[in-house]
Amino acid sequence: MAEKTVGTWAVKVGLAQMLKGGVIMDVTNAEQAKIAEDAGACAVMALERVPADIRREGGVARMADPTKIVEIMEAVTIPVMAKARIGHFVEAQVLEALGVDYIDESEVLTPADEENHIDKHNFKVPFVCGCRNLGEALRRIGEGAAMIRTKGEAGTGDVVEAVRHARAVLGEIRRLQNMRPDEWMRVAKEMGAPYELVKETAELGRLPVVNFAAGGIATPADAALMMQLGVDGVFVGSGIFKSGDPARRAKAIVEATTHYNDPEIIAKVSRGLGEPMVGRAAREIPEKELLAVRGW
């Protein structure tokens, strides 16, 4: 019989395919990870501080302490993701050595390199990266990202930027589909994206990898909104554990993501969830505090 091959593109993209239609939740310890798993999360993101706290406390935000990540990996059976700083390929090597299931090369942490992202093809572990538009998504895929998410504006509880980024990506794909093949090269040049990926996206009518929403999702209706816009699933960061009743809200967001086309169910699960995270309008955040502009 043939040999096993590991770390292939198919298994990297494949894990993201298994996460579709699900909710990936930010957690900072084993107890939160259990709450997320019990609520039906399809994966958790292990980090030291949720984005709302990173925003409030300031300072340099780095990869979480490995002790914390391992504690979370031991607490749950679902996949565990962890964040590395943009361009910090040694943090990524450490996360791979720990055995995390996915690495988020994330603008939520303080970038380690303002010019270059990680060469993600060099790793066996798959990566997810944020984007604001199709060009940025395809540049990250070109570097080896096996999953894409919108950047949104993390730690705000304001969904407006996630909507903007999802509409940008999905709208640009719809425009591509209406183009003649002899126009793809011009688009590739304008977007600063690899031609082969522009071509593949035009032919598929979707990104060649799974595409989630992230950055500001705080309610079941926010999650369903992103799903109806056409993303494959959602990340919820500060929105759960900065709310009044995390277990209940987490479960409600999971149900709204599955039944995103059923307003009666969304209405039912949205009742009496307690205080949502306080939130901060993305529009009122000073330019230098915006996270989505990190990376290119």
Binding site: M1, V11, Q17, K20, G22, E37, D38, G40, I78, T258
Partner: protein, 196 residues
């Protein structure tokens, strides 16, 4: 032929696309009434713990058991295989239909996920006079530790690990035929599983 694909979470769209390409009428199932009039059901890959919570919350466990007990073919891939099993050695909501003991995340974490060519004699196809292997994709995959008397093994790794099995109208695979271009497992399910 109308085949449901459980669409609570996971890679259900991939199954729907293969079924439609084979000419079957494929529908997504999230609520009990969507199980009516089905000729079969596929439980896709995804997270089995998520399936369990949502299946209980939305009253799907008993209707799926009834569908199975009525002799309709039911196939679980990866998380779907876990959800079909009688025993997985830990407390978690299950359909408990197939007489197998399954171990979750049995090959390790994501960095240990793999691809391999399998010999599956039940698919009985040849290429240049040789049996044509089935290219199998295993993602944080489960394995079958032991089987009951009524269960037939369909595929094993070199070391004897059971990765595909059938029990009457039930089919289970550790891997994901829906992620490949090879439609033989889907055809096997449509044409042979559930037929006596």
């Amino acid at each position: 032929m109308k085949i449901g694909v459980l669409a609570l979470q996971g890679d259900f769209i991939e199954h729907v696309q293969v079924l439609r390409a084979l000419g079957a009428d494929a529908v997504e199932v999230r609520q009990p009434d969507e199980l009516r009039d089905l000729d079969g059901l596929i439980i896709p890959g995804g997270e089995s713990t998520t399936f369990g919570k949502l299946a209980i919350e939305y009253g799907l466990i008993e209707p799926i058991r009834a569908l199975c007990n009525a002799g309709k073919p039911v196939w679980g891939t990866c998380a779907g295989m876990i959800f079909l099993a009688k025993d997985i050695g830990r407390p978690q909501p299950l359909l408990g239909l197939m007489d197998v003991k399954v171990k979750r995340n049995a090959f390790g974490r994501q960095v240990d996920s793999f691809e391999i060519d399998l010999d599956v004699s039940a698919l009985a196809t040849t290429e240049n006079g040789q049996p044509k292997p089935f290219h199998a994709i295993f993602i944080r995959a489960p394995l079958i530790e032991s089987i009951g008397k009524a269960v037939e093994v369909l595929a094993q790794l070199d070391d004897g690990t059971i990765v595909a099995a059938r029990q009457g109208n039930l089919l289970a695979t550790s891997f994901h035929p829906e992620l490949t271009q090879d439609t033989r497992f889907h055809r096997y399910f449509l044409e042979r599983v559930g037929k006596r």
